[in-house]
Symmetry: D4
Subunit: 216 residues, 8 copies
């Protein structure tokens, strides 16, 4: 169904052997592969089966790219509120890149320093779709969505303590966002946000008449 | 920012007078207006100020359309699992229509009768973006997203009893969906889903080269 | 302990007779009285005992002011995100006024329209202490606190639906605020916020050397 | 009461010494024994008392089978949605086998790939009772129950992250299932599901007139 | 799929017109119909379309029985802890009866009066499957399951106050039951319990060689 | 206030040094001391300051008994449902003993095996006050309180998994108990139960005219 | 089992007819009867069957006292924090009185006015057992238990708003009380507290050698 | 915005390298720096870059003070209920000191020993603003606020077990406080409380006419 897109292996809760086994089966179909939530052991085990593997440490993603995908001209912007949210933001950004998207990144633009955020208005408004990652109070997607008329995918993170309740506070904030165009994914689900953003950015790329992607 | 789009008044928790007051101020700018969560009193009060108002009873939306918007050729599909989810589905569908989208509707296709759902595969696969509405177990978006490679916006509803906890069960199901391309909005938030779907379908329409919409 | 301050009767959950009874006993001490959560029946019953009563309908507060308190020169700013939050904001504002404070009001400045908020920066920065009221995503206090170096008292409201869970979402957002100087009170507790703000503004007034208040 | 059935020791939260002590006492009655949630230490300690012990590592069950039980002809089907749910599914399957049931297994048939599931319709419809194990969105039992007219015992697992809240999301989904014939056990309770399925399959076996089991 | 079984309409959240419309469509197929959560209005509206309708007021179920089903010889026992649980117990009992089962009822046998319960041991042990309904502490299924080797379907009810949290307490108790053979359905879901019990009792009836039911 | 009673040090969350420091200060007053939640390090450190210390390993309580207290003749019965609940039960039992009470113990009498429990009716009915400890479904106090007319103090434990939610399920069961005379303490709070039982048993002892205790 | 004690009918969730029916059956045994959660209709229906009924409106308890019970000399003190807690406090107090206890009452002694509470130290210290009722922050039992060495039964009430979550806040406060001798009952469960206090006060009365009660 | 105030680095969830990197960038602006939630590694790494660093081990705060701030004459009182709350109290106290405030400390004054608390009334009443830290039942702020007419900032801690639910119980208690002038921060958020107290105490200092602080 998803021609041109990589097959994904969700490594969390699987043994290295299980991941490698699934990868071998998929490689027989000659597809691109992306292993998410992959630690260094997974990366090395995939290399050991003789494949050329790229490892994105911050995103914890290992990629086997047999057929390179030309990137879109339109852009996905991946933003995050704080330094500690970067791993989740990177999971989103790398997922989108592996799926053939041009990605911009913006970190450490919390809403308590609104001027730092407003100074980035141009880059915010030039993106076709935005992934906005935040823990603690989770307020960044609301403010950001007010600055653009493009879809915003909000990703709550488990960063925080006390009444953040493992990301629940940020999740609820985002679901209750008063701004138009915001949708939400699971806590820490950078992958899901990157994937959905990718589906949308493809449309934007073709709408812009600049698409180099093969048709879905 | 959102030229061509209607201004929305969220009527819930406001007096009829407040809604009318806001509407008057907006009408001075000659924009289209959509009042959501509007009961019949709001509708009649808006008529009383001499405007031509359309009332969508099931969706509880009153519309003042000063400048008609030509619809997209590409389609948003709004599906729901049960009869009782229809009001939320209608809120999404009417919102999308008012924003200039062609909308298809599909009701009563719960996952416990998978063949009724599969029989609709064609209409599912011809949509550019899907809004999938479900209460109780909230499982419909997962199955549907597996049948299409387009973005799916999942809307949990407060329909149910007991351990549905006012829609919490459906919300959690959707956030934990194992299918790619699913994002989620607040419980009963048909409006938010319709709005986000509209942002995406515009791109699809232009990508298809069929757009009659004015540029955003 | 709190000389110069009114005695408060929390009317919710009390019969009109109970409220009047408590008021009579307090009036013997010749103090000012403020009945919060008071509907029109309470107001009329207090008038009926021959007192001159002021009724603040939006705030649901009835006041018997035997000894007028000269207001501070320094200001408490009471802001709220949406129209539906006004009753809670008014409870805070009227409480503060009855306690002898100059109060400014700012309504309908949600974070999704950040420019409307920024346009009010001057009034925000001239207040000595701020009460910031918001339901749904509860993000306003975080942004506001970033615009001032004065204490911000955040009041979550029960306004919203679905995953707002009766104000829980806004409460958690505020407790997790990343901005400095924010403290929080109970959901819908305009009274508590107005009272605490009043304690602080008194200090500001004396610090400014402008105080007309009797010493605490 | 449960003649023919093994005695079960729930090892979790007990010391190896406690488990061995209980086993010794039970063996005096010459019954079959099954230790659940048993790690390798328990297994080895049971061997050390001179018994012939079978260890099912994936299920974490150690079995001492003094009196072999002839299996039923009718079948219990144990299905699971993902690779990571296998330990819980195995706990159910091995429990049922030790209790004298023929068991079929089906893994990795999530609802997002509905065709993989539908391809298994025959095996689904030939079972007398089904144990359906799923984490994350927990949607598999709803869909499966729609494909059979036999009882379905749903087992939520703690597999997932973020808003899966340790299996709560899957549990709620299953309790809210819109499909007929679904009942639910505790999160990760493969044992309980296997036991209840066994009670039902016995009836099916006798109904089919094929039973080799001694009467209960 | 479910030949011989009635079609069910869940009336809650539907208008009388919607229920009647669905009933008309089903009657064209000449099947038996059961409308659950049906108040007297639904009952009368169904009569008004010229059908012979039976109304079970306590169970809130209206039945149109075009083809009578001969009852099983084996028995489903429906028990409940308190008087206030009777409506839910009746929903289970009537559902099972409409589906062609012999049903026994036992009310007001709470665990705090264990001797009243033990006095009923015979009737408990002669049932092929048990539906055990309880609110508040929800402890009855645990004790009952200890008195029988047949499957027990536990139904938590929303009866109670305070920390019963609308049936959550009873639900959790039942999910954590230490007794073998217990499975659980949603809070107040008498229908689901009656249905699942019916699937099991059919097997028992055929196992007993006494079945008069047509094959499934 | 509590003459004759030991001073208690709650060791959890304190360093060994802090516990020893507090003990030294208390010993100057020549009182008996009980350190709860004390691991072996605490025990040894207390010995090292030259005191004669008794260590109750299962209860994790270390006792320095300078003035022995003669035990009551009336009895506190400490019961628990499962083997894994013993540490909490022991915390209650040892606390009561240190406070000068005669204590009986009864373990492994879960409600799913009601006859094992009923066989102990005599010992249950001869106690003056009962401490009933249970995890998982927490049903034991309800049944027990039905067998006696003496006060029952229920202690939920964190034993269990899945929907036991760290003892929450058992806590709610106990708070919702339908039996008369049941009160509840915090999850795992054996100490609190033992203490409260002790206050009550003292009265029973004096009521029985057998008291050897010094007056409170 | 409970000779001398009244039989209780919990009227909530029962029809007037059901309550009267149960009362009739009990009166045949010539026992005293107490109907709790009884509104005026229940009271009048009981009178109508020709019995002499006492109605305690604030407590919502109707009593048929065929055999008067002489009161204890020792005292149960029933305290509450605020005016709105009185109905729950009265349920406890009247229950205790009907069961033959001398009861003292103390209202409106919240912890925020500690001196009003301390002024009552004498009455607090002269009680044999205390029932302490509080909503909102639920802090009163902790402070009170520190002022007495007698058992304290804490009753959380559903009084409050916002983050009181229907009494959950007060319940948790009480379960976490740092004071010795505190046990807790369900939210709003005045009856349960009065009953348990009564069991304890009987012992105190006999211990004091003053008992006029018949033996249990 | 916050001239004279230190810049804060929240070290939790950051690598030592990230903290040092941020510190270096800030030091270029020649400001004071405070790293909170800093373990010894962070402290040593900061020293290693050639700065003179003060480490407050109990508070887990490392300070680089380039420009010493003269302390206020007015006082912030930081109180805590138990020994285990000291780390959070120290975080508040050190934060306030680094920001140029005179700070008093009061530990181990739980509400169950009200006289120990009342003995400190003088120190309580001489503070300009109070930070009150408590875990478990969280009742201390309510009582304390009743003893002063100054603002009280309540800090719930995660200290406790069972139904303390990681500080949730204390948080809810504080939000529901019946005392005037109480506001609340996140669980364990000593920093936030110290910061907000500092903003208020500055005003008090200037009001007292004793301020040595530079103007904000
Ligand atoms: N980080 C992630 N979080 C959630 N879902 C993921 C993630 N990475 C991959 N997935 C999903 O997991 C699927 C593969 O799961 P599995 O078959 O268990 O390896 C992919 O197709 C994705 O839908
Ligand atoms: N709207 C309010 N919300 C919360 N607390 C309030 C409110 N109004 C008054 N109070 C508090 O309630 C106290 C009076 O309570 P009462 O004695 O029940 O009338 C006042 O001193 C305040 O502390
Ligand atoms: N994996 C499991 N999960 C839940 N309950 C279990 C499990 N295994 C055994 N049990 C139950 O635990 C009982 C034995 O518990 P125990 O007496 O503590 O060894 C068995 O009779 C079963 O009812
Ligand atoms: N196991 C326990 N659980 C709860 N509270 C306890 C426990 N052991 C002692 N305590 C309480 O903790 C107090 C001593 O606390 P601390 O001053 O922190 O040592 C005692 O007076 C008891 O009230
Ligand atoms: Mg926008
Ligand atoms: Mg898809
Ligand atoms: Mg600020
Ligand atoms: Mg089925
Ligand atoms: Mg059984
Ligand atoms: Mg009893
Ligand atoms: Mg005490
Ligand atoms: Mg005060």
């Amino acid at each position: 169904l998803r021609s041109g897109y990589p097959e994904t292996i969700f490594s969390q809760g699987k043994t290295v052997e299980q991941v490698v086994g699934i990868a071998r089966r998929l490689l027989e179909k000659n597809v691109n592969i992306m292993a998410t939530r992959a630690d260094r052991n997974v990366y090395e085990a995939l290399q050991a089966i003789g494949e050329s593997v790229e490892y994105h440490a911050a995103a914890r993603i290992a990629v086997i790219n047999r057929q390179p995908v030309p990137p879109t001209r339109t852009t996905i912007l991946v933003m995050c509120a704080g330094t500690s949210d970067i791993p989740v933001a990177e999971e989103a950004a790398v997922t989108a890149e592996v799926m053939g998207n041009r990605v911009e990144r913006l970190a450490d633009v919390g809403v308590a320093g609104i001027h730092r955020l407003l100074a980035k208005r141009k880059i915010i408004q030039s993106a076709s779709v935005l992934v906005v990652v935040a823990g603690m109070d989770g307020a960044l997607p609301s403010v950001t969505a007010g600055l653009t008329d493009k879809p915003v995918i909000a990703v709550p993170t488990s960063i925080g303590y006390g009444a953040s309740f493992g990301g629940l506070a940020a999740l609820l904030t985002m679901l209750n966002s008063c701004a138009n165009g915001v949708t939400v994914v699971n806590i820490d689900n950078g992958y899901g946000a990157g994937y959905a953003a990718s589906l949308i950015n493809r449309m934007a790329d073709r709408a812009a008449g600049t698409s180099q992607n093969p048709p879905l």
